[in-house]
Assembly symmetry: C3
Homo-oligomer: 269 residues x 3
C-alpha cells in the first residue's frame, strides 16, 4: 500500500497537475506555495464568472470554507456544478463547520451540487459533521481523537466520499478502508494553515491519482506530515523557522522517502 | 507595574484566549501567526452573517481597517454591536484614517455602535484622530513623536478608551495613566504588518486580561517589541530573516523576560 | 544604459515613492514586503470609494488581475481614470488573461479608461495579448521564449506602453527599444508570486523615474532577478528559504551592484 503512495507522490511531480483552489485569505499564499513544493501547479480562481470554466481545465479542486466571501461562495458552487460530472476530484475543507452555522449551510449546498470526492477537516469538524458532540475553539479543534474513526465512517458513508480527520493521528476512511497516519508534529498547531496546506497537498495527490482518492489522501497527509517531522528536527520549537523549512522539505521529498518514513496503520471496516 | 505585565503575558499562554480578528488581507497571515506565537488562538471570521455570533464566543476582538471590503465593513459593525455590551474587549486599528476619508467614516460608525476598548494606530493616525496636523505617506507615518502624548490623551478621553500610538516610542494612555514603551527596532518599518501584528498581540493580551486594558496594551507592545529586538540581534538588517525570527522569539518569550527587558516609563496626567 | 538603471535604483531608496497597489490576495503580502525592500512605500488600497483619491497621491500604481473581486475591478477603473491624466505611471499585470475570458475583458476596460504605462506579464500572457497562440497552465506560462520579442513589439505599439514579458529571459520593449534581461533563476518558478513581486519592484522604479518607463522596467526586473541569483547561492534549491532571502538581498542591493551584475542585451527595432 505504501508503495502505491510512493508512486502517487512521484507522479505529482511528473504530471504537475493543475490544482484549482478556492481557499481562505489567511493561508492562501501558504497553500499556493505548498502545492508548488509538491510539484503541482496551483491557481487561485474564485470569482463566480471564472470558476466554472476554470474548474473544467483543472486536475483537482480544493475548496476551503474559511473567510468565505459572498462571491467566493457562489464561485464554489459554480465549480462543483461544472466539475463533478467530469470526474474531476473535489476536496472540501469544512473550516469551522461545527461552530459557524453559515459554514454548515454552505457545505450542504456544495454536497447537493455534485459529488464531492473528499472531505478533510480537523477532528472537531468531522465529528460535528457526523452529528457527534465536538469541542472546538474557533477554527481549531480541542478534540481528542476519541470517536473520530467512527465519525469518519459515518461521513464517508453518508457522502460516498473519502473522509479524513486530522489530529495527533490522521484518520482516512473510504468505503470499507481505514488508514491511520501517525506521522506529524504538534508544532503544526503553533502555525496557522497547517490544515489548509495539508488539504492542498491532498488535492495535488488527487490530481495525480484521481481514481485512487483514498490512497491519494493518505499520500498527501503522509508527505505533509513527514515534511513537518523533518522540519522540526532542524528548526526545533521555533514556529517561524519551522514554517519556512516545511516548503524546503516537501520540495525535496520523494516517493522512496514516504516508503521509508511513513507510519500508516491500515484496517478494514 | 511590569510585574503585572509579566503575569498578563504568561496568562495568555495559559488561557489561550480566542481572538476574533477582522483584519486586512495584506498581513492577515502574519496576524494569525503572531497571535498563535503569543499563545492565543486566532480566528479570522469576517462575513456579516458570521461575525456577530462569533464575536460573542471570543475573548477579544481585533478590528483593522486596512483593505476593507464592503462585506467586512458590515461584519465589523455586527461584531461591535454584539460584543460591546458583553464586555468583550474590542481593539480597533484605524489604518490610514487620516488619509482616506472612508476609513474615518467607518471608524466613527464603529465608535457609535458600542464601546471600543482600545484604539491603536501609528503616530500619524492617532494625531489625525485627535484633530492635529499629521504627516503620513499612505498607510505609513512620517510623523515624529511630537505631540503624540497629547493626541493620545485627547483620543483616550473622547472615546473613553485606551489610546496607543506606535512609533519610535510607543505611547499608551488610559484615563490618567501614561506609559511610554521604549523597546523596539526601526527595522519594523522595513516589513509590512508590524503595526498589525502588534495590534494582534495587544488583542491577545486583552483577551487574557479584559479588566486591565491599559496594562494589557502595554504588555502586548512590550512583548512584540522585545521579540523584535531579539530578532534583529540574530538577523541583522535583513528584513526577510527578521520577519521569520519574530515568530520564533515571541513564541519563547515569557513574563520573566518582559520583567527583565521591558523599558517602560510611567507617568500620571 | 546600465548606469542610468543604477541611478534609478538608488533613486527609489532616496525618494521612497508611494506605490498604490491593487493586487491579488495570494501574494499581496509578498508584494508589499518586496516594495519595502526596494526602499519604496507600498499601500494596498482597493475599494472603489478609496481608489481614485488615493491614486492621485501615489507616485506609481500597480494593478494585478489575479483573484479579482467585483469591488476590486471597480476600484481599478477608478484609479486609472483618476491617475492616467496626471501622468502617474500605471503598471498592469494581466494575470491569466489568455486563459480566463473575464481577465481579458477587464484588461480591455482598463486600457480604455486611460493611458497605461506598462504591461508586464509572463510569456504566455504577453503572447496571448499579441494574438499569438500561447501555452499556459492556469496562471503559469509553459511557453518557451519563441516569438516573445515580437509579441512585446505588437503589444507595445498597440498600447503605446512598455511591454515586458518575463520568462527564462525577460524581454522589455518600448517604442523602438528592446532589452533582454538575462539575470534570474528557475527557482522563481517554484514559489508563488515571483511575477507579482517583479511587478511591484518595477512599479517602485517607475515611481522614482516616471519619465523613463523603459529603463525603470529594466531596472526593476534586473534588481529582482539579481536578488534571486544572490539568494539561491545561499539557499540552494530550497524554495522556502529562497523566498526569505529574496527580501534580504533586495534590501541590500544598490545601484553599483546592478552595474556589476546585470546582464542586459539592448537592441533597436
Amino acid at each position: 500500500m505504501l508503495k502505491k503512495c510512493a508512486e502517487i507522490w512521484d507522479e505529482v511531480r511528473r504530471e504537475k497537475p493543475l490544482i484549482h483552489c478556492m481557499t481562505n485569505y489567511v493561508t492562501m499564499n501558504d497553500v499556493a506555495n505548498i502545492i508548488l513544493a509538491s510539484g503541482a501547479s496551483p491557481a487561485m480562481v474564485d470569482y463566480p464568472d471564472e470558476a466554472g470554466g476554470f474548474a473544467c481545465i483543472a486536475q483537482a479542486i480544493y475548496l476551503n470554507l474559511g473567510t468565505l466571501t459572498g462571491e467566493k461562495e457562489l464561485a464554489m458552487l459554480e465549480a462543483v456544478k461544472a466539475a463533478a460530472d467530469k470526474g474531476i476530484p473535489i476536496i472540501v475543507d469544512p473550516v469551522a463547520c461545527g461552530v459557524i452555522p453559515r459554514k454548515a449551510g454552505i457545505l450542504k449546498k456544495l454536497l447537493n451540487s455534485g459529488q464531492i470526492t473528499g472531505i478533510k477537516g480537523n477532528n472537531a469538524e468531522i465529528k460535528s459533521l457526523a452529528g457527534f458532540d465536538s469541542n472546538a475553539k474557533g477554527v481549531d479543534s480541542l478534540d481528542s481523537g476519541e470517536g473520530v474513526e467512527q465519525a469518519c465512517r459515518i461521513v464517508a458513508e453518508k457522502e460516498n466520499a473519502v473522509a479524513a480527520a486530522t489530529g495527533e493521528i490522521d484518520v482516512v476512511v473510504y468505503q470499507n478502508n481505514v488508514a491511520k497516519v501517525k506521522n506529524g508534529t504538534s508544532l503544526f498547531g503553533s502555525i496557522t494553515g497547517a490544515g489548509c496546506m495539508a488539504g492542498g497537498v491532498v488535492a495535488a495527490c488527487m490530481g495525480a491519482a484521481p481514481r485512487e482518492p483514498w490512497l491519494a489522501t493518505i499520500t498527501g497527509l503522509c508527505a505533509f506530515n513527514i515534511a513537518g517531522e523533518r522540519s522540526i528536527k532542524v528548526s526545533g520549537e521555533n514556529p517561524g523557522t519551522f514554517r519556512v523549512l516545511i516548503f524546503d522539505n516537501l520540495f525535496h521529498l520523494r516517493g522512496e522517502d514516504i516508503l521509508r518514513e511513513a507510519r500508516v496503520e491500515i484496517s478494514q471496516l
